[in-house]
């Protein structure tokens, strides 16, 4: 598996693991120890679910908090769009931008549930964790993991490390009492 294909190629083939398919190193996919779905499909699926849930959340907020509703609609549309895009294929640049945006959204979620946004219906306190929010975040985390995999080797490692640093950073902020 030396020839790591680009993310675009990785998602072009819709049936990569058919029994009998021959992998690039010549071994049968049947011998692969773990059955896998391509990272591209995981990313596309998970980000689409996150997008749809954001649109649902927008409906919930539309009556009392327009700013939130608009934000959720924008995020929902971008995410469902990205889901469709990922299914067609993508470039490392787009994947990188998507990763940055998703990590940003997860950090924003942590912020809203620990420190609290200073606007909106919960202006004076952090929101409590809720089922919808948790589901969205799990989908986004799955998308992040899958999208890292889509990147060419060098970038994949850089992106993974960057996400790791952000994660550790959040914990450091928590340990020092800034978060929470």
């Amino acid at each position: 598996m030396t020839d790591r294909t680009t993310a675009a190629r990785a998602v072009v083939d819709p049936h990569p693991a058919h029994p009998g398919d021959v992998d690039e190193d010549g071994s049968s996919a049947l011998r692969s120890p773990v059955p896998t779905v391509t990272a591209g499909l995981v990313a596309a699926g998970a980000v689409t679910v996150a997008g749809v849930l954001h649109l649902l959340a927008a409906l919930e907020h539309v009556q009392h908090q327009m700013t939130f509703a608009v934000f959720f609609i924008v995020v929902g549309l971008v995410q469902t769009g990205a889901g469709a895009g990922l299914r067609r294929g993508s470039t490392p640049l787009r994947v990188g931008l998507g990763l940055a945006a998703l990590v940003g959204l997860v950090v924003l979620y942590v912020y809203s549930r620990t420190i609290g946004l200073q606007i909106g219906p919960h202006a004076d306190r952090p929101e409590d964790p809720d089922f919808l929010g948790i589901t969205v975040v799990v989908c986004e985390l799955a998308t992040i993991a899958a999208m890292i995999t889509l990147l060419p080797d060098r970038l994949r490692s850089v992106a993974g490390n960057a996400v790791l640093v952000v994660g550790i950073g959040v914990w450091v902020l928590w340990a020092t009492g800034v978060v929470g």
Binding site: T5, T36, H122, D124, R125, L164
Partner: protein, 525 residues
């Protein structure tokens, strides 16, 4: 083509962020000892703040039949927490508002001026108001009909007949969709109606007859009231205020006291117990004196209910402290700080030994309690429901009442009809104190079993607990017209567990019979 799977290494790299996103919000919730955002050091230690009694309202004039009052609802800054200024809405600028003292047979007229700001300073809704005198069989146009609103800059004169027996009433805001915020901001106060029968009893009176108005609050970091009702499930604050003071201490004499306890909280139910384990004597409920006093060691108190109790401090030594504790009820979020309410410090020998008894018969003529099921001509079923994020009664919301031009009703009893109303709550996740306007009722049963001992008096709010069906018996007397029935968990009421019934057919219209008018200073009452 690689069948790229997410590698363990990538997962590990994401897991730091993942663990933070999933764990930290819960960690914050679990760690929270309260919900207020204000520094803990700003909260007083329990039983350090002196107990106060709300001021008594003075009529601006009286004639042969009527006492006239005038009060302006105003935004004020007051101290709930010592040294912290908090913006509140108060009747006459007071929180709780001034107590009105009325006597059976003498009418009271209150001119309520809405002097509130055009917008709530932080929650940016328009604080229109409608004043409900809870416990009074007032005409529909004076009953605080939710949509009969008084806008800021308007006033309305309310006429109260006071023909009912002695009781503890309260007046509070009932404005459509913002009752919870307005009441939470402080628009609530007591109203005491007395009669000859009650005055003839040897029960504590005067300074030994003490209002206790309970309300829980939560505070923002800068000391303002914080409003968080968990998607309209309820607001459960971590600061317990009694007559507007947090966990106060009251010095008492070694004798009996009558306490009129009003739970003016939006959503919090209480279960009282004395720290000494001694019983309390319940002498009156929402609709006035019980037939006979009830000795209880615990009292469960839903929102808007009133229980008048007698505590005898004669059995304690001077220097002893008796704490009124809260054991909590199901589906009211409790914190460490909500387990105690106030302290009575036994401080002196009685300075007045008269009116220091609780006779075994309090009320030989207990109106609603004299009704029997055989008088009933109809049985109606009401179900309190949550569906699609909205609360409703039988699926009917106030929005639908409004959409019907205020004509839709869920029941239309004839004047003086006696009926059984069966209220069902199929949920185990909520309780609903249901208030039926106009009437006093008798609680027949709760899931087929007798009501609690403290409920053995005339009531106008009933605690409909989890998975309960409560049967009530009532007579639709005194007035005709349309009256509200709703849950007294105020976020439930506002969203939108409120509907109406109509007594008879020709009653006055609550919206048009006496609408609010523009206010000009100096207008004579």
């Amino acid at each position: 083509m690689s069948t790229r799977a997410v590698s363990r290494r990538d997962l590990l790299k994401v897991s730091a962020l993942g663990a933070a996103a999933l764990a930290l919000p819960f960690e914050r919730v679990v760690r929270a000892k309260g919900i207020s955002r204000i520094a803990e050091s700003k909260l007083p230690k329990p039983f350090t703040v002196p107990f106060v009694v709300p001021p008594v309202a003075k009529p601006i004039r009286s004639d042969a039949t009527t006492d006239y009052y005038q009060m302006s609802m105003r935004q004020v800054q007051a101290e709930i927490l010592p040294g912290v200024g908090t913006d509140l809405f108060g009747y006459d600028g007071q929180v709780p508002g001034p107590t009105i003292m009325a006597s059976q047979g003498r009418q009271v007229v209150v001119r309520h001026v809405n002097g509130l700001p055009a917008k709530h300073p932080r929650w940016s809704y328009t604080p229109w108001t409608s004043v409900h005198l809870h416990g009074s069989a007032s005409l529909p146009q004076y009953d605080g009909y939710a949509s009969d609103i008084t806008q800021p800059g308007q006033y309305k004169d309310y006429v109260y007949p006071n023909m009912q027996p002695a009781r503890t009433l309260w007046y509070h805001d009932h404005g459509a969709a913002h009752t919870a915020e307005n009441a939470y901001m402080g628009l609530a106060a007591m109203y005491q109606l007395t009669d000859a029968q009650e005055r003839g009893l040897p029960i504590p009176t005067g300074r030994y007859d003490v209002p206790l108005i309970l309300s829980d609050k939560m505070f923002t970091a800068d000391g303002q009231l914080m409003y968080e009702d968990k998607s309209h499930s309820g607001l459960w604050g971590d600061v317990i205020t009694m007559n507007g003071k947090p966990w106060p201490r009251m010095p008492v004499e070694r004798r009996k006291y009558r306490f009129r306890i009003l739970n003016a909280s939006l959503s919090r139910g209480f279960r009282y117990k004395l720290s000494t384990g001694e019983p309390m004597t319940v002498i009156a409920t929402d609709g006035g004196l019980m037939g006979a006093p009830q000795q209880v060691s615990e009292i469960r108190h839903g929102m808007a209910e009133r229980y008048d109790i007698v505590i005898d401090f004669a059995k304690y030594k001077i220097g002893q402290r008796v704490v009124l504790q809260n054991l909590g009820v199901k589906n009211s979020t409790d914190y460490d700080t909500t387990k105690q309410i106030m302290a009575f410090d036994v401080a002196a020998e009685p300075t007045d030994g008269t009116k220091n008894e609780v006779p075994s018969v309090l009320n030989p003529n207990p109106s609603a309690m004299g009704l029997t099921e055989s008088m009933s001509t109809a049985t109606r079923k009401l179900e309190v429901i949550r569906g699609n994020g909205e609360w409703s009664v039988n699926g009917v919301t106030w929005e639908q009442i409004v959409a019907s031009g205020y004509r839709k009703v869920i029941a239309n009893p004839a004047k003086d009809a006696v009926e059984v109303w069966e209220i069902t709550n199929k949920s185990g996740g909520w309780f609903h104190p249901v208030h039926i306007h106009l009437v006093d009722f008798k609680i027949l049963s709760r899931n087929g079993k007798p009501p609690r001992p403290e409920e053995l008096g005339p009531k106008d709010v009933v605690y409909v607990g989890e998975n309960e069906t409560v049967r009530l018996l009532m007579k639709f007397e005194h007035q005709t017209g349309r009256y509200m029935v709703h849950c007294h968990n105020l976020p439930h009421e506002d969203h939108d567990m409120m509907t109406q019934f109509e007594v008879g057919t020709a009653g006055p219209d609550p919206m048009t019979a006496a609408p609010a008018l523009p206010w000009t200073a100096g207008l004579k009452l």
